[in-house]
Subunit: 327 residues, 2 copies
Amino acid sequence: MKEITIAVDVMGGDLGAAATVEGAWDAAREYQGVKLLLVGPQETIQAELARLKAASPNKNAHMLEILHASEVITTNETPTVAVKAKKDSSMVRAFHTVKEGRANGLVTAGSTGAVLVSIFTFIKRKPGIKRPALCALLPNKTGHTLLLDCGANAEVKPEYLLQFGQLGSEYMQRCMGIKSPKVGLINIGAEEEKGTPIYQEAHQLLKQSGLNFVGNIEGREIPAGTVDVAICDGFVGNIILKHTEGLSKTLMAIIKEELMAKTLSKIGALLAKPSFANLKKRFDYREIGGAPFLGLTSLVVKAHGSSDAYAIKNAIGQCVKFERDGY
Amino acid sequence: MKEITIAVDVMGGDLGAAATVEGAWDAAREYQGVKLLLVGPQETIQAELARLKAASPNKNAHMLEILHASEVITTNETPTVAVKAKKDSSMVRAFHTVKEGRANGLVTAGSTGAVLVSIFTFIKRKPGIKRPALCALLPNKTGHTLLLDCGANAEVKPEYLLQFGQLGSEYMQRCMGIKSPKVGLINIGAEEEKGTPIYQEAHQLLKQSGLNFVGNIEGREIPAGTVDVAICDGFVGNIILKHTEGLSKTLMAIIKEELMAKTLSKIGALLAKPSFANLKKRFDYREIGGAPFLGLTSLVVKAHGSSDAYAIKNAIGQCVKFERDGY
């Protein structure tokens, strides 16, 4: 088994070092042969590790290594300014370990803007890849659809859309074990000539790409799970991603409101509680752990700002699977 | 009360003349002083009217008038070809009544493509309006958000987006009785400089428009109900519209699946049935009846292909409200 190293930006998430260090601690226990570089304030990390050790032993504790970084980039800072100024921040230091080849992958729950700037500043793109893409794994009827780009490129060229298809297909093979991922181009109709000239041209490129391209897909086919990889520009993708979050949340709130409006329904809801818990789990972003950036020489996973230990552990797991081509 | 005439394309919907004639019959009963022009095969319409009359009398039956049309445009035909060739189709004849000023509004459940072509062929735009927009009323947490454009214009200019704001605002005032509708520009971030150059420029135009413009909104704010009118190009809008349909459907299917997986949950679901029925009603497109096309000298409402009588009645109601500026 290939020995790999993943850098973990310990600071930056809303829950601070406690969540990220615990996530890494759990990941060390779960994934064998994975060294984890904990990047952040040494004393804080040591204190967290001591706390975890006291609670329950971990035979892989020696796989956790601390890399000191004194500063933190917050979500309130202008990303370009912060990345340039805070050379000793946990995020910048973590990205440096990837740049120098010391780490094979990186997990951070820090500001998306700062992550984007760091990627453009420190990380090389894969040979031939024009633009990196921010992805999201959206839950669908039977599994997940990888949506890209989700906001790294508001404007695209047809060639970028083709490459998004290639990158997404590779990811779904390596991380999700799908042999020949179905790829769809998000559009406003199934016919080849639908959409803007950029999408029309991208359709032709994808058709000739050798990918398992199923053609254009409409908005409703993303949740239906028609494809494994759904491609679009970053403007459309970002709106779909946030619309998914918003609509799921609103629907669940409305269901709750309706159930609580009547006594019988309240009892019904109580009886159905385990089912609702199961449902929640299926739509829980923590199961995936974070959004991958693809098209780089290393996998970078942007964990949700509010990630807890479980989400961080799974985000690390994504990097492990990607590096090991499944495991 | 202003006497108005609404043309109803009797053919074109999946349920045929039975549903549309019954919808018009119910509308005649509900809305006073509204003449309804039933456009389609005379014999078929007469038979439906006789059936309805036998079932229950309608003191406003005299407000229903038949305009014979022998042909039908189906969803399988190429819209441009069909609209040109089928001069005696119910859709083309219905559009002619609007063109000639005989009707003030039009309801059709026919092919969206053919409706678009008919609009461009027969209906004048409001003075100064560059492009008509297809709208959708999406249910949100507390009411509805008008989304436009939903597919009539895959590519836009900043000026079109401004006009969509004006048209949407006017509609929400007249049909929904909202005094100063909140207008938002769909974008990938709140900051003015977010998105593509077209959206950046549109933001500035909207800011200076005198509309109640609240700025950029992200995808999650549509279901949250942050605004009354959400503006975007037809590519983005079509994807949001279909994504809403698809995600709501998938979520409900998953909830059902989870509830049916356990006996206790099944009982719970049974007890909560009235609440789920209420929920369904809140998300039922039939309550609104159809998608309005705005920017024309008359209101055209495209009813869903599978519209039943209730949906058609409400689609007619939209035209009535629009013409009467609420009622």
